[in-house]
């Protein structure tokens, strides 16, 4: 057995396999995907009932409400990112695999974004219509939500990795992530508001893009380091 040349699969194979496995798990347990989505839809539909249905008020508060709900829904889904892997021992197996851990983390985060972030982006237009958002603004909102949820998934993975060994780490996770997530929400909601007032909104989009790229290049390393510490 030792005579043969051992060929370790490439890093893209590792990334794709991790993402595929998590997507398959999400497919088999659709409840985990749908829960944050229902939460998002519920907050967005309940809000107008509470503050009153005046058109002016809805138009004014729409971007903010949708963004706050999206942020909270993403936080809700982050807790389980590494939890089941930690509990069934597959995190150990990932840690002793020859694949670079940051790459596997990207795979897992990609799957998380596809199952938690992207559905929010697709559901948001329906909710935006109830806030009387014009079609041109809905496009801007979807773009900000896309960029924002990418950053949230990546930054959230750091918090999820740090709190994975703790029981009931959800509160701590939110506390850790909120300072990093706040700018995303402010930039996103602000850009949508500006677009609704026919103002220049591109600055916010660029800033969100920069935030997403910075998260993509730094967060996986931080998450990998945090996972090694948490799993000791």
């Amino acid at each position: 057995m030792t005579e043969s040349v051992r060929e370790i699969p490439g890093i893209l194979a590792g990334l794709a396999a991790t993402a595929k496995r998590d997507l398959l798990l999400a497919w088999k347990r659709p409840g985990d995907v749908l829960n944050p989505l229902f939460f998002f839809a519920m907050v967005c539909t309940l809000f107008p009932l509470a503050v009153g249905p005046s058109a002016e008020q809805l138009e004014f508060s729409g971007p903010g409400v949708i963004w706050v709900a999206a942020l909270l829904a993403t936080l809700l889904s982050l807790n389980s990112l590494f939890l089941s892997d930690f509990e069934d021992g597959s995190l150990d197996q990932l840690l002793v695999s020859p694949q670079p851990l940051p790459v596997l983390v990207i795979g897992k985060t990609l799957a998380h974004w596809l199952t938690a972030g992207l559905p929010l982006v697709f559901v948001s237009p329906i909710l935006a219509i109830t806030y009387r958002m014009p079609f041109s603004v809905i496009g801007v909102m979807m773009l900000t939500l896309t960029l924002g949820t990418i950053s949230l998934s990546l930054l959230g993975s750091i918090g999820a990795a740090l709190t994975v060994g703790l029981h009931r780490g959800t509160a701590l996770l939110s506390l850790l992530i909120l300072p990093l997530a706040m700018p995303i929400m402010i930039l996103g909601a602000n850009a949508v508001s500006l677009a609704a007032h026919n103002d220049i909104y591109s600055t916010g989009i660029w800033a969100l893009g920069a935030y997403a790229i910075a998260s993509l290049s730094l967060a996986p390393y931080a998450t990998a380091a945090a996972l090694r510490i948490s799993n000791e």
Binding site: T2, R6, I8, K28, D88
Partner: protein, 204 residues
């Protein structure tokens, strides 16, 4: 190609407790290292430390005479670990679980069907792992070892949950692996016999 795993003067402290200190061993291709000791004495911790998942207070682990922290990827590419927790996803079938592992490390040219047949799990292929018994899940974890092409096996209590026939099978697989030039580090309570040279390390 022969390999060598050695440890020099390992000391591990967990919290306030010193689990072991000044522990050294050397293991070459074809050798079996058995870790003995009562419950909670640190057998699993030793395996985790050697695998690089726990940081040691003192001491160095060498793989082919190079410290493992200098070649973590190379070292991890040479080992597979049968842990106490199987590391299998309960919601996936065993084929899906093992198919995922296939993309992580080098895989052997054994035919998966033959491996399933040999481990007695061939007829469980369509079931999700959660619905299997603890012993059957162990057998799936053993399949992971057989399907990967690595010289170093870590086995943490491999006999847990297995029936008599399963325990004999584990020893048979270990013997085969060692005869093939592999290395094995095993934590075990029970006494057993293998045909290969065996070193015992007792953790106090």
């Amino acid at each position: 190609m022969t390999h060598k795993l050695s440890a020099d003067n390992l000391t591990l402290i967990r919290g306030e407790r010193c689990l072991f200190s000044g522990l050294s061993f050397a293991l070459e291709s074809g050798g079996l290292l058995v870790l003995e000791g009562r419950n909670g004495c640190g057998k699993t911790s030793l395996i985790r430390a050697v695998a690089g998942m726990l940081s040691l207070e003192k001491g160095v682990v060498y793989w082919d005479d190079v410290p493992v922290e200098k070649q973590r990827q190379e070292f991890h590419g040479s080992l597979v670990w049968l842990a106490h927790r199987t590391g299998l996803k309960g919601d996936l079938t065993l084929v899906e679980n093992l198919g995922f592992e296939r993309h992580l490390r080098a895989h052997s040219n054994r035919d998966p069907e033959e491996v399933y047949e040999r481990l007695g799990i061939a007829r469980l292929k369509k079931l999700i792992v959660r619905s299997l018994s603890a012993g059957q899940q162990r057998r799936v974890a053993l399949a992971r070892m057989l399907l990967s092409d690595v010289p170093l096996w870590f086995m943490d209590e491999p006999f847990t949950n297995l029936d008599r026939e399963g325990r004999a099978l584990v020893l048979e697989l270990v013997d085969e692996h060692l005869a093939d030039g592999g290395l094995c580090v095993m934590a075990a309570h029970q006494d057993f016999e293998v045909n290969s040279p065996m070193t015992r390390v007792k953790i106090q």
